[in-house]
Amino acid sequence: MSKKLKKRLTRIIICLAAFILIKILEEGLHVFDTGYGPYCMLASYLIVYIAISYDIIKNAALNTIRGSMLDENFLMVIASVGAFFIGSYSEGVAVMLFYQIGEWFQSYAVGKSRASIKELMDIRPDYAVVLRDGTESEVDPDEVSVGEIIVVKPGEKIPLDGIITEGISSLDTKALTGESLPRDVVAGNEVISGCINSNGLLHIEVTKEFSESTVTKILELVESATDKKAESENFISRFARYYTPAVVGAAVLLAVIPSLITGNWLTWIYRALSFLVISCPCALVISIPLSFFGGIGGAGRQGILVKGSSYLEQLDKAEIIAMDKTGTLTKGVFGVDSIHCIAQDISKDQLLKIAATAESYSSHPIATSLVNEYLSRTGQNAEELKSHIDNISELAGHGIEAVIDGIGYYIGNDDLMSDKGIVVNNLPDDATSVEVGTIVYIADHNRILGCILLSDIVKEDAADAIKGIKAAGVKRIVMLTGDRKATAEAVAARIGINEYHSDLLPADKVDIVEQLIADRSADGKLIFVGDGINDAPVLARADIGIAMGGLGSDAAIEAADIVIMTDEPAKIAKAIQISRRTLRIVKENIVFAIGVKLLILLLAAVGFASMWAAVFADVGVAFIAILNAMRALKTD
């Protein structure tokens, strides 16, 4: 809470206490009933009134002089002064007192939300330590140029995007992705700004200026997120524009016409003053953007960056989702899919060990994935593997011939096998029909031992993601891929997608998305999810473009409307849920705030609602609507 806010709170509490005290003296103890009592009462209420409202009166007077009537200060002054004139002193004070409480609460709520955006913005680095002429100096991240080496100590933020030249560490990417597992990095790895270096000392060669770096891009995106207003926000602004003058007009009519007919001026003026109290559209005007902001902030904490309230609003109407396969539903890198033993006397683990050992010196992607698979299964390190090798020779384009613990092996493709006279037989059926990219055969010098299938691995959460998207009410899910039909079919079946299009060129994807847009209903929205690298035109064409794995990909951040910072497709369903929830809160607030105000207006017109009810309709409703809006921040 800021100092200013604290001061205002103290003032409100003191005035409220004084007000209650006077009210008790008046109605409970009847001390003002005789003699000069009524004058004392008026004087006491006036003192509290002035103490609580001097600033509002001042603003109202200034704005009236400047010619902008009908602002909320002015309306509140008229309502409260009017109440004094017709003898409703306590109502007059209450109007101002509760108006101030409402204003205070608004400031508090906005400050609270702002604090949560600050948390999100906590990724901004304050300084960079740059290595110049052998000495380290601390400079503003802005002053570092591409190609310079920066030094990042454990616990520090990585200030600029770059490539590690020296050091091993693990990075905490939680602030960027919401992912709590640390990411291990070594020399040669690309790192992005905003991550926190957890343990090792890193030397990083800068590859992007600060203004182009990931952290700056993300911050710009978050800051401008509230610029793109949702339809319901625009509705509220339009509503507010007409609501206040309309209510004020009605109040004037209500004060004059019935009074002329009945001659009962006091009653009708009282009712008209109640109208003025309800005339401020604050509750709506503040709570709707606050709800969207909460939703965007909450999504941000889950690693889902939404570029504007309007996208959050449209996501709620998702009807068809088209998804790219590679990089979105699959990892886009080769991994071990399955291991098949052909010889009777060998186990899968042994096969993998032979292959991994033989490939342990190679830097080929397939070799790397074999080695990684083995190391992650057994927890051994690469040095241990290498120690088993007695002799090794690489046969370019075919594979490897290796001697491991005294036994000779061939590891490679079918060309290698036929060159060496190895007969490949008894292959399991699914080894040939499966969605493979590559088959690696393993043989000793006499016979085939088995084979390992490598394919583009389907992400762990892909099937769950599809289930979640279906559960969120999306009617149609279509997978698009440039891959062969067999591959597409196998992946689609595995994760539960019925509709897919294969063998697509990038331009074909745009055509299909156009077709899908034509297919959807007028209200529904088409979402395209891609990895953002080669999908930019499709991302732009879809109603909402969602880019996966935004980390490090500029194209994704620019072309998409929503960026999922982690690689998890499950976040798509999460984003839809957040959108649903936010929209529900927005609708609740619109219906509740307008409903209560109209109801109280009606009741006040016929004399059933006192000015107290009017104060509730104004401040109470704002209070509840803001509390409700702040729920949107919670997304877990």
Binding site: S2, K4, D55, K58, N59, L62, N63, R66, S68, D71, E103, Q106, S107, V110, G111, S113, R114, I117, E223, T226, D227, S237, A240, P281, C282, V285, I286, P289, L290, F293
Partner: protein, 74 residues
């Protein structure tokens, strides 16, 4: 040319909108964007705009709607 102001203690949503609309009317201002939640007023100015005069005008507009707000030039 862009110009950024921080409106410290801005916490009223429709004041933000009024400020944005009024500021957009100032001569030399092409567009203005006032964001309540970041307390930022972003202006796009014409190349030949009189910056000093615009700054003065912005301050007086902000002061009119929200006297408690401190305008900080960036």
């Amino acid at each position: 040319m862009n110009k950024l102001f921080i409106l410290e203690d801005l916490d009223c949503a429709h004041c933000a909108e009024k400020i944005q609309n009024d500021v957009a009317e100032i001569a030399g201002v092409i567009s203005s964007k006032c964001t309540l939640l970041t307390q930022k007023l972003k202006l796009e100015l014409a190349d030949d705009a009189d910056v000093a005069a615009i700054v003065k005008e912005v301050k007086s507009i902000v002061n009119k709607y929200e006297p408690d707000v401190t305008v900080i030039e960036k």
